[in-house]
């Protein structure tokens, strides 16, 4: 598996935004993920696919600064110099997690404050960074709610009064309001019915393209990967078995497991 992929448009952005080198995490004897290395360029969407238990979410948690990997390092280039996110103090890492990148959880309950209104959820990151003008915070919140297609009239409703799809969209607005450069998404369409999934995917595609976001999307749904991602990593048993351009990997899979995965997709 030595598939060389040239990064998109390296002339504009010569340095990767996020670099993982030999990231491994073990749960005692068992392997969570092992020896994962890749570069993510600004504006690029990377998909991580694989079956349940293949280490996708473990890897994402390591990359997003939630769980410290047992080996390897994660470099994030927020400013001029790349920053090893696990060698900076926890205070700085938490600040980065609140401002420079965002995490969209599979279950909206993990990412939202269920007792706080939609406006408060969206405004929290603004208040975190020191905004203290109620009118302006509310204006920004309304703007972001409309961008994720939530009616402005529902700004004071709590997330538990929202449908599953709306909760997921609210979670996306809450993350994007601080204009991060990188977004991690863990199964963003999981648990939604197909028509709602389609709308959410459309929305994500528009947002990612418009804002020039880099994103890492974990999914077990190959259709989602095909629609959203530029590049794909296939994981099995904690290892990356194949990576390359999305179309390449899905249309011409080399590794036996990837072939199994693509052939297992139902075509209606």
């Amino acid at each position: 598996m030595t598939l060389h992929v040239s990064p998109p448009d390296t002339a504009l952005e010569p340095a990767p935004l996020l670099s993982a080198a030999g990231v491994s995490r073990f749960y005692g004897e068992r392997i969570g993920c092992e020896g994962v290395s890749f570069d993510l360029w600004p504006g690029e969407v990377l998909g991580i696919v694989g079956e349940s238990g293949s280490g996708k979410s473990t890897l994402l948690r390591c990359l997003a600064g939630i769980d410290r990997p047992d080996e390897g390092e994660v470099l994030f280039r927020g400013g001029a110099e790349p920053l090893d996110i696990y060698s900076v103090p926890e205070q700085e890492r938490r600040r980065l997690m609140r401002t420079a990148w965002g995490i969209v959880h599979q279950n909206p309950r993990d990412g939202l404050r269920m007792d706080v209104s939609a406006g408060g959820n969206v405004g929290e990151r603004l208040m975190d960074r020191g905004d203290r003008h109620y009118g302006q915070i509310r204006e920004r919140a309304l703007d972001w709610l409309s961008r994720v297609e939530i009616a402005g009239a529902r700004i004071d409703d709590r997330p538990r009064q929202f449908s599953g799809g709306m909760q997921q969209r609210l979670q996306i607005a809450r993350v994007l309001v601080s204009e991060p450069r990188l977004v991690f998404m863990d199964e963003p369409t999981g648990g939604l019915d197909v028509s709602v999934q389609a709308r959410l995917l459309d929305l994500l595609r528009v947002l990612v393209r418009d804002l020039g976001l880099a994103a890492i999307i974990v999914t077990h749904d190959l259709a989602v990967a095909r629609l959203l991602t530029d590049r794909l990593m296939v994981m099995k048993d904690g290892h990356v078995v194949e990576q390359g351009l999305t179309d390449q990997v899905l249309d011409d899979p080399h590794h036996a497991y990837t072939q199994l995965l693509t052939s297992a997709v139902l075509t209606v």
């Binding site: 926890e90 205070q91 938490r94 609140r98 404050r113 706080v116 209104s117 406006g119 408060g120 405004g123 929290e124 990151r125 208040m127 975190d128 960074r129 203290r132 003008h133 109620y134 009118g135 915070i137 509310r138 700004i155 004071d156």
Partner: protein, 310 residues
């Protein structure tokens, strides 16, 4: 029952140590107090002891008072601003018995004022010590249940979440509806729960010449405000902090600048507003200020009649 009291080093052997707590415990509390004064607004853990009083009734305040009181001190205890409510009377009697304390109802004469729910109306002076009984010392508790997480938030001043709570108030009710235990920023660094005092009293803490000590017995935390410390109530630029105000003066002493309690006086829903600080109200009545309902209240025996007050 009269317990014979002695100071440490006396020959006789008393039933209790002076001021109830043993000397080692007092030293432990004083160490916590010193640290709390050194870092204004920071919650210092301490080994809270069992007191002859249920937790939640002021055990934190009593332990702080016991650790700092001496024979030369004069103690005032108030509960909801009043000197004559059950809890205030019990705590005052406790220190009369165990610490031979002189007690007073006059704010000006007290060197230590233990309080629940109020700061006296009379301005505090240098040399006085306020001791607050605190039920919940953690201002972030209702927003973030994990203790490990709230400590990190304090350590790194990540206070966006507190602002979210105020945002929610304004979004739902058009103004900040928190009226007591209103969160404050101390010395530009720590967010602190001022104990359940009305937000009316928050401005009195700002740059106060008195030392202010906070004890939470059940939660085992002590924190403090040294004299002349900045205390700012949290707000938004376009929704500034405001204190409560009333449309009518105190019905007994006609004060317009004090915190008033609303008292329902009959089955028809009639009500009167009276000063919550009972000493302040009595002082004003003695000075000749007369509220609209003073005559009625004296006639029904609710307040001392004019002859006995003068």
């Amino acid at each position: 029952m009269t317990v014979h009291q002695t100071l440490p080093g006396d020959e006789t052997s008393p039933a209790y140590n002076y001021a109830y707590l043993d000397e080692q415990t007092k030293r432990m509390i004083r160490r916590a107090l010193l640290k709390a004064v050194a870092v204004p607004g920071y919650q210092v853990p301490f080994g809270s002891r069992e007191m002859p009083l249920a937790r939640g009734w002021g055990t934190g305040g009593i332990q702080v008072t016991a650790a700092i009181i001496g024979p030369q001190d004069t103690l005032k205890v108030i509960d909801q601003g009043a000197d004559d409510t059950t809890n205030a009377v019990s705590i005052r009697r406790f220190f009369e018995k165990t610490a031979d304390a002189r007690t007073t109802e006059a704010t000006e004469q007290a060197t230590i004022i233990q309080t629940r729910h109020r700061i006296p109306e009379a301005p505090l002076q240098a040399g006085q010590i306020m001791v607050y009984q605190v039920p919940q010392p953690e201002p972030l508790r209702k927003l973030e249940p994990r203790e490990a997480e709230t400590r990190k938030m304090h350590a790194w001043a990540e206070y966006g979440l507190m602002q979210v709570k105020l945002y929610e108030n304004i979004a739902r009710f058009g103004e900040v509806t928190t009226t007591y235990d209103y969160p404050v920023m101390v010395n530009g660094r720590y967010i602190m729960a001022p104990s359940p005092i009305p937000k009316f009293d928050n401005p009195k803490m700002h740059m106060s010449p008195a030392l202010q000590l906070f004890g939470a017995g059940r939660e085992k935390r002590i924190y403090a405000l040294p004299p002349h410390t900045s205390v700012r109530s949290l707000d938004f630029e376009d929704h500034p902090f405001r204190i409560q105000s009333w449309n009518e003066p105190c019905a007994l002493c006609a004060a317009t600048d004090s915190y008033l309690d609303e008292v329902v006086i009959d089955d028809q829903g009639s009500r009167m507003f009276v000063c919550s600080d009972s000493h302040h109200c009595e002082t004003r009545r003695a000075a000749g200020h007369r509220g609209a309902m003073l005559g009625d209240a004296a006639a029904s025996g609710l307040v001392a009649s004019e002859e006995s007050t003068s």
